[in-house]
Structures are given as structure tokens and as C-alpha cells.
């Protein structure tokens, strides 16, 4: 069940849309922002609001890299693995993050604090190697900076 507040936020978005389906990404993001991820039940509830079938909406949800269809941690680290970051130390950055967090790519720490994901080019090639933690861009990230960055996210 969507909360009244969630419904209100999605409905407000619909006012700007020629067709309800146009709000699909925005609606998925509304739920993800509040719940961390998008469950099957949420897909059904949102689809109903947007006059879409659950399958149509799930085809959108599963298409995008940053709509989470599984639970993630409180903070999501997206490490850029594209060409410039790869050339300038992605492998080392990834290894150090994995060691520090004790998880692999696509995994979440046991305390649900961090999820570590690989990411396509973040558009920060002048700041390679780069990573996003939630909405914050960090780069260039040197090995000695990693612990300090992680400390900021509890």
C-alpha cells in the first residue's frame, strides 16, 4: 500500500504530464527515495496510479541502472568503472572499498549501511577516479581518502 503522502507526491507529478505513464520514472523515484527500493507490491501500486499494467511499469523499472528492485543499504556507493577512471586507478579503488567494507560489487554490508555498485561513466572524467556516494560526487579519490569519505555516511 502506498501512503497518502506518497500518493500525493506522485499525483502532483501527474499534473505536468500529458499521459499518466510519463510520470513512471518520477513515481518510481518517489517510492525509492522514501523506501530505499521498489518492491513488487510497490510496482503494482504505482502501476495502478499511472494506468499502466504492472508488467509495463516493471519493464521500465528493470531497465534503468538506478531503480533498485532489491533492498539496498542506507547509502549507495557507485564507483565509476569506465575508461578514464579505469585508466587512473579504478581497480585499486574498488579493491580498497571492497576490503574496507568487506563486501563485493552488488552487495550490501551486514549493518545495511552501504551498498557497493559499479557504475558507467559518471561524467567526471576530469576528476578520475570518481565515485558517487548517494548524491555526492567524490573525485579524484586517492587511497588515503577512502576511510574519511566513508566516515561521513553513517
Amino acid at each position: 500500500m502506498l501512503t497518502e503522502e506518497e500518493k500525493r507526491e506522485i499525483t502532483a507529478e501527474l499534473a505536468h504530464c500529458e499521459h499518466k505513464s510519463a510520470a513512471s520514472i518520477e513515481a518510481l523515484k518517489v517510492i525509492q527515495k522514501r523506501r530505499g527500493w521498489v518492491s513488487d507490491a510497490s510496482i503494482r501500486d504505482i502501476a495502478f496510479l499511472l494506468d499502466m499494467t504492472p508488467a509495463e511499469l516493471d519493464a521500465v523499472a528493470t531497465f534503468f541502472n538506478f531503480i533498485y528492485r532489491k533492498p539496498v543499504g542506507r547509502h549507495v556507493i557507485a564507483v565509476c568503472d569506465s575508461i578514464v577512471c579505469w585508466s587512473l586507478g579504478y581497480d585499486q579503488l574498488r579493491e580498497l572499498l571492497q576490503k574496507s567494507l568487506g563486501i563485493g560489487l552488488g552487495e550490501t554490508t551486514q549493518d545495511d549501511r552501504f551498498t557497493l555498485l559499479p557504475a558507467s561513466c559518471l561524467g567526471a572524467c576530469d576528476r578520475a577516479p570518481a565515485m558517487l556516494v548517494d548524491e555526492d560526487l567524490h573525485g579524484p579519490v586517492t587511497p588515503e581518502m577512502i576511510d574519511g569519505i566513508l566516515e561521513k555516511y553513517r
Binding site: 510519463a22 523515484k29 519493464a59 568503472d81 569506465s82 575508461i83
Partner: protein, 423 residues
């Protein structure tokens, strides 16, 4: 030299507020434009030789001229700014979007007036959170001031502008996939024709331009076509936001005359290669462009010159390959990206790119076989232009086909010695 696009941009600082932007000469072009017949602005942009900055270099004025005339089709028609900058190596639109959001918005209003559309969208890649925040603020200020909305500045022209923030997928940069994404559908490309100019968003005429293209419009309206052409070092008008990344001393993006040479970009602006590293190759305009070599350093970075040298200027943001990085590993990384971001809609791309990626991975890890290079070449042909639904796969094989040509000995050595000699 003049740097119209970046004169207000000071990286690391907050962008100008609307009031500061106006004080710096902002929104003059809108007042001027609203007093002109729209078709005169189209003619002015044609005369300026502005070519689209998204990568293909299509003449902007000509594209605008192809928007169906008002009255010939029912309203609404749409104007979309494609700010889904997701090509590896490209970060130049970010500079403009974060650095001077008001300039982008003024450019959108003037462009929309020129082609007489009343609904506009900025399609922004998900990861540009800072740009999103700043653009939203600037849009709100523009509405408050009457630059957006109904009856702009007392004229009969209306414009509604919305930001669509995406959720991370490279294919959305392809304009028909972008349109599907805006409609809330799975973002796969559409068959062309019909082209979006005739039948785009919700089946209506839709014009799609790059943010850098749009940012140029206010300056062309203010200063004229001749002034704009004089900014350039070649026949294409204007300045260009160029970038250099990789193992150079000062990676970054700068506004320079269109036609600045590769050497000047790497040496003078990028600060040259880092100590202990030599230049081995260049992908001049993003991951989907053919390699160039150190012998091409004197090539001017404009659409025609780079094409003549065997590549594409693309976004104008180049990445260097240094002599201590394995070229096979480099190309493998590019193909990891493309195969991951293939949308899966058409078979050659969905099946071919992962195959390429696996072959390259095998070669890089000492498991290459003698027939692999001809198999890769076959893929370059079969995934090339005309065989796929959109330009993703043809773009993906550009760096591969040129790497096979220029760095062939490296590939052969991997296969012969059954290892990567860089490791």
C-alpha cells in the same frame, strides 16, 4: 579571445543568480528575439554555421528549418534539450549545466521561440545532481520573473519548461530512446523514419538539441552570425568546449576556438602527458570514436578535419591512451561499457557486443586464439552502420576497428604469448 559560453563560469563557485546573470547581460537576447519574426532567428542561426554539439555535427539552423511550420500540424510541438551526457570521456555539458544554468534556460527560450514550440524539456542524466539542483532553482527564478510561462515578457509567446531527471542508461542519449523514456516507456530506440522532427514525443514534431548548442543561441542573437563565425578557427562557427582526460597533468574542459588542434589541447591546456608516460593514442570525442595517433596531433578539432583523419570529433572531449596502459585492456574496458549499456532491442547489438567483450577479455587474459582477430573484424562489419536499429553498436565498434588497425601487434602478441605483457 572571447569566451562567450564560459565567461560567467567559475568552477568551484556558485553560478550567477538570475539577477547577477541579468546584470552580466543575460536575457538581452530574449528581448531582442521576441521583437524578431521567428523565421529570422532560424535564418540567423543558419548563417552562423553553428553545428550541433551533441556529436553528429548536424547544422543547427538546417535542423530548425525542418521543424514543421506552425499551422501545418496540430500543437503542441516539443523542444528537448538532450543533457543525458553519458558517453565515457564526455563531461563538457556538465560544465555548462552546473556553471551557468541561466544561459541554458535563456538559450532554450530563444530556441523554442524560433521554432515556435510551447513545451520544452531538459532531459538530464541521473548522476548530475548538482546540475539538477541549480537548473531547478534557475527555472523557478525564470518563471517568477516572467521569462517562462504564459505571455513571456508581454509577448504572445508561451513556454513551459520541465526537467526530466533520468535513472541511468546510456541509450537515453539516442533521441528516439530519449523520447520513449520521456513517455515513461522502456527506453529503447524507435524505427526511423519517421524522424522526431515529424513524429516524436506523443507523436508530435519534436526538436532535440544538445545543451552546448542551445547555450550558443543567445550569443548568436546578440552579436550576429559574422561575429559568431569569427570566433572559430575554421569554417564551422563559434567556440567549442573541449576536454582532455586520462594521464595528462591537468585534465579539464575549456572553451576555445572551434578548430583548435589536438596538440594545443593536450599540451597547452591539458598540461601535457604525466611524467614517465608517453602518448600512444587518442579517442578524440568520447568512447564511440575511432582512435587517432600521435601523428595526428596537428589535426584541428573540428568535425570535418577529424573526419578526414579517420575519426569523429564527437563531443570534443578526448581521452588519451598512454604507453604504459595495455591497448587491449583499454578497448576491452570500452566494450564492457557498450555491452552493458546495449538496450537489448536489436539482435546484432544485444548479442554482438557481449561476444566482442568476451573475446577481448579472453585475449587480455591469455586465452586468445588465432582466429579471434578476424572474428572481431567480422563483428566490426556486422555491427556497423545500417545493420542495427540505432547508432550505439556502430559507435561501439569504432574504437575497436581502429585499435585492430593501429595496435594490431599488441593484439597479436597477447595471443602469441598467451598473456598481457602489461601486467
Amino acid at each position: 579571445m572571447e569566451r562567450p559560453l564560459t565567461k560567467n563560469i567559475h568552477p568551484g563557485q556558485e553560478p550567477l543568480s538570475l539577477a547577477e546573470y541579468e546584470k552580466a547581460g543575460g536575457y538581452r537576447s530574449l528581448r531582442k528575439a521576441l521583437a524578431m519574426p521567428p523565421q529570422d532567428i532560424v535564418a540567423l542561426v543558419k548563417a552562423s554555421n553553428l553545428r550541433g554539439r551533441g556529436g553528429a555535427g548536424f547544422p543547427t539552423g538546417m535542423k530548425w528549418g525542418l521543424v514543421p511550420q506552425v499551422g501545418s500540424v496540430p500543437q503542441p510541438r516539443y523542444f528537448i534539450v538532450n543533457a543525458d551526457e553519458m558517453e565515457p570521456g564526455a563531461f563538457k555539458d556538465r560544465l555548462l549545466l552546473e556553471g551557468d544554468p541561466n544561459q541554458i534556460i535563456e538559450g532554450i527560450i530563444v530556441s523554442a521561440y524560433a521554432v515556435q514550440t510551447e513545451k520544452a524539456f531538459i532531459f538530464l542524466r541521473r548522476e548530475y545532481f548538482l546540475a539538477e539542483k541549480r537548473l531547478k532553482k534557475a527555472i523557478a527564478e525564470a518563471y517568477e520573473k516572467g521569462y517562462l510561462g504564459a505571455g513571456i515578457l508581454g509577448s504572445g509567446f508561451n513556454l513551459d519548461l520541465r526537467i526530466h531527471s533520468s535513472a541511468g542508461r546510456y541509450i537515453c542519449g539516442e533521441e528516439t530512446a530519449l523520447i520513449n523514456a520521456l513517455e515513461g516507456k522502456r527506453a529503447v530506440p524507435r524505427a526511423k523514419p519517421p524522424f522526431p522532427l515529424a513524429c516524436g514525443l506523443w507523436g508530435r514534431p519534436t526538436l532535440v538539441n544538445n545543451p552546448e548548442t542551445v547555450a550558443n543561441i543567445p550569443h548568436i542573437v546578440n552579436n550576429g552570425a559574422e561575429w559568431f563565425k569569427a570566433l572559430s578557427a575554421c569554417a564551422d562557427g563559434g567556440t567549442k568546449i573541449y576536454g582532455v582526460s586520462g594521464r595528462v597533468n591537468k585534465p579539464g574542459a575549456w572553451e576555445l576556438p572551434m578548430g583548435t588542434t589536438i596538440e594545443e589541447l593536450i599540451e597547452d591546456h591539458g598540461g601535457g602527458m604525466q611524467k614517465g608516460y608517453a602518448l600512444r593514442g587518442i579517442i578524440p570525442g568520447g568512447a564511440s570514436t575511432d582512435f587517432l595517433l600521435p601523428k595526428h596531433l596537428d589535426v584541428p578539432m573540428d568535425f570535418d578535419s577529424v573526419a578526414k583523419a579517420g575519426s569523429r570529433m564527437g563531443t570534443g572531449t578526448m581521452t588519451v591512451l598512454d604507453d604504459r596502459t595495455c591497448p587491449v585492456g583499454f578497448v576491452h574496458n570500452l566494450e564492457v561499457f557498450f555491452s552493458r549499456e546495449s538496450c537489448g532491442w536489436c539482435t546484432p547489438c544485444r548479442e554482438g557486443l557481449p561476444w566482442i567483450e568476451k573475446i577481448l577479455h579472453a585475449i587480455e587474459n591469455g586465452r586468445g586464439e588465432s582466429g579471434d582477430l578476424s572474428l572481431l573484424e567480422q563483428h566490426c562489419r556486422l555491427l556497423g552502420p545500417g545493420n542495427t536499429f540505432c547508432a550505439l553498436a556502430p559507435g561501439a565498434v569504432e574504437p575497436l576497428q581502429s585499435a585492430l588497425k593501429y595496435f594490431r601487434e599488441d593484439f597479436e602478441r597477447h595471443i602469441r604469448e598467451k598473456k598481457c605483457t602489461w601486467k
